[in-house]
Amino acid sequence: MEQRNHGVSRRHLLRQAAGAAAGAGWSFYVITRSRTARAGEASAFRVGALGPLTDFTGRDILRAAQMAAEEINQAGGVLGRPVEVVPADEGDPEQTVRAFQQLVTRDRVHAVVGGFRSGVILAVLPHVARARIPFIITGAASPDITKDVRRNYRSFKYIFRAWVNSNRQAVNLAGVVKEILNGQAGFTRFAIDAENLKWARDYVDILKPLLLQSGFDVVYETFHDPAITDFSPIFEAASRARAQVLLEIISNQAGYTIVKQWKAQRPRFALAGNNNPSYLVSSFWRDTEGACEYELSAYVKAPLSSKSLDFWARFEARHKESPFYTGTGAYDAVYLLKLAAERAGSFGADELVEALEQSDYEGVIGRIRFDEDHEATIPLPYGQWIKGNKVAVWPERFSLGRYQVPPWL
């Protein structure tokens, strides 16, 4: 009885195991077949556009990616397929990871472009590595984002950046100081005011030694609370230290406040640096009522390539405002993916990565080639606000005017 029971049980178990194996095999076959079928049937090359869609930082990622997709589709698509842009909202890290996973599992995108907040994008990166989907970042500037590309290439080779990381932004500003503020205006005494956030501290850690190496004096240095509403004490201290230029490193709304108070108080120093609100080329003048006049800051409509001014003009004509930097990068990123797919003759992630690494593309943000860290080697031009326009003054090869010393100095 016992033996019989054992025998029945064994047969039963064997049958169940065989059934389970067959079921699993069938499921695997069905899933892979349906995936293959879906991929085969899929008529589109799908690109996720990830960014905070409720404000201009993400909205311009989507707008510019869609512009690129429309143009590519009008010209015949990619490998015979149209490009389809799938929007995904970037919120807090948890929401964004979910949005990214939906892009991968539900929307089955072939690649993703965009990404604005460094802290959020850092949280997404392990999921990019797991999903093995190329992700071209066009906004987030933390150097940490690409630090694993070389260190753990197999997992993180999918991450690229078509923008300038904050370390390189600091090197850029040092170049502006040397060539424009000293070279053209003769300034030698600099004060630094940065918001008290990690990226800005890292920025100053690179900028300050470069200024000192160039023989300039850094006469005052401070970090302010990002919620600051009053720059008077900083202006006063910089004036007391006889600074000729205050170098600002600001990413938030304090960027409006600083120029308004600079204009109201007319301290005896020029204002220059990295002021993110000043990246809003079509509205910063209006929103500060011209208080930004004579400010020299990063990001400007400049002829970085033969395509740059044409793209800006078309974007402005269509959307009645200039593109934020996240958008210019996203526009190029979609084209980079198109060219990579054509070079590879495939939409496969590994093939796309390999082809992206070979990129040498003249985009609207300049000539884009990726280095070993998958960072695009592009310039971040500087412009000065004069009579309602932000005039490109640096690098010299792209400049459309010369730097003007504020007349009250």
Binding site: T222, F223, D225, E236, T257, A264, S283, R286
Partner: protein, 291 residues
């Protein structure tokens, strides 16, 4: 000369910062004193003052100072209506009232984002230009903040301590039931206090906007600061709030000018912390005054 200039700047900026703190804090203290309500919507009135100024000047083409005065008045009336029609029916449910004011703060913020977007708006200085004081250039708007906040607080003092209305409001603060028994219209007193507080908060928002920017989130930090000032001064004490605002304004300004702006919040809060360790009821908290 440089030191004198710095001293002049510290005095003027300190008075300005204190003035803004005081305009916000006395409103919080008044509402708590009269209605025992912790009004989390107080920052929303500050924000609305700035937005209405902008809208009335740009959409109705009113001159900026007229738009500013009209905005303060409208927000004051809104505050009174808010108390009369929203808070009054649930006044006895204290926690519900607090939560409702909290919800109101977010409702206003989200409403502004939906209607006008998250972008910042700019208001020009009501008195453009700057004045040189002992070699120091001080924006005229800062001088206006000092004068306007002093005038507004002075008028409030006259209202509370030199008029029958003020006497009635202070009576309600002392005892609602007693005030009701002697014929004071208690509900009207509540609405009046909310209106006055909302108007003062709006005035603070209007005065600060020309030197900063107008955004949907601009009211949150002043709200927290005003709570801190009220606790520092002693909850329920109007005099305590004024003294605390002055102290906190000058601590912030001195640290800002003489040490570094990055230590401002820390030093102000550390002072409050130390004072509360020694006097847990705040500077003037022991004797609860009639607000």
């Amino acid at each position: 000369m440089q030191a004198l200039g710095t001293a002049a700047a510290v005095i003027v900026y300190g008075l300005g910062v204190s003035g803004i703190y005081a305009l916000m804090a006395v409103g919080v203290a008044l509402i708590y004193g009269v209605g025992r309500v912790i009004n989390f919507a107080h920052g929303a009135f500050y924000t609305l003052g700035a937005y209405l100024t902008y809208l009335m000047a740009t959409r109705l083409a009113l001159p900026w100072p007229v738009a500013a005065a009209a905005a303060v008045l409208v927000v004051g009336l809104l505050g009174a209506a808010y108390d009369r029609y929203v808070l009054a029916p649930i006044r006895e449910k204290e926690i519900t009232v607090w939560i409702l004011t909290f919800a109101t703060a977010f409702l206003v913020r989200e409403g502004l984002v939906l209607l006008l977007g998250a972008r910042p708006y700019s208001i020009p200085s009501f008195v453009p230009g700057s004045t040189r004081l002992l070699g120091q250039s001080i924006a005229n708007q800062r001088l206006l903040i000092v004068v306007a906040s002093a005038v507004a607080l002075g008028l409030l003092w006259v209202l509370l301590y030199r008029t029958r209305t003020g006497k009635a409001l202070r009576a309600v603060a002392q005892t609602r039931y007693g005030a009701h028994l002697v014929g004071i219209p208690v509900e009207r007193a509540h609405a009046a206090v909310m209106g006055i507080s909302a108007g003062l908060a709006a005035l603070a928002g209007v005065l600060i906007s020309p030197i900063a920017v107008v955004t949907p989130d601009m009211g949150f930090e002043p709200l927290l600061l005003s709570f801190t000032v009220v606790i520092f001064g002693g909850i329920g004490s109007l005099r305590g709030s004024l003294v605390a605002a002055l102290l906190m304004g000058y601590i912030s300004t001195l640290v800002s000018f003489l040490v570094s702006p990055q230590y401002v919040t820390f030093s102000a809060l550390a002072t409050v912390f130390l004072v509360l360790l020694v006097r847990p009821t705040g500077l003037f908290g022991a004797a609860v005054e009639g607000a």
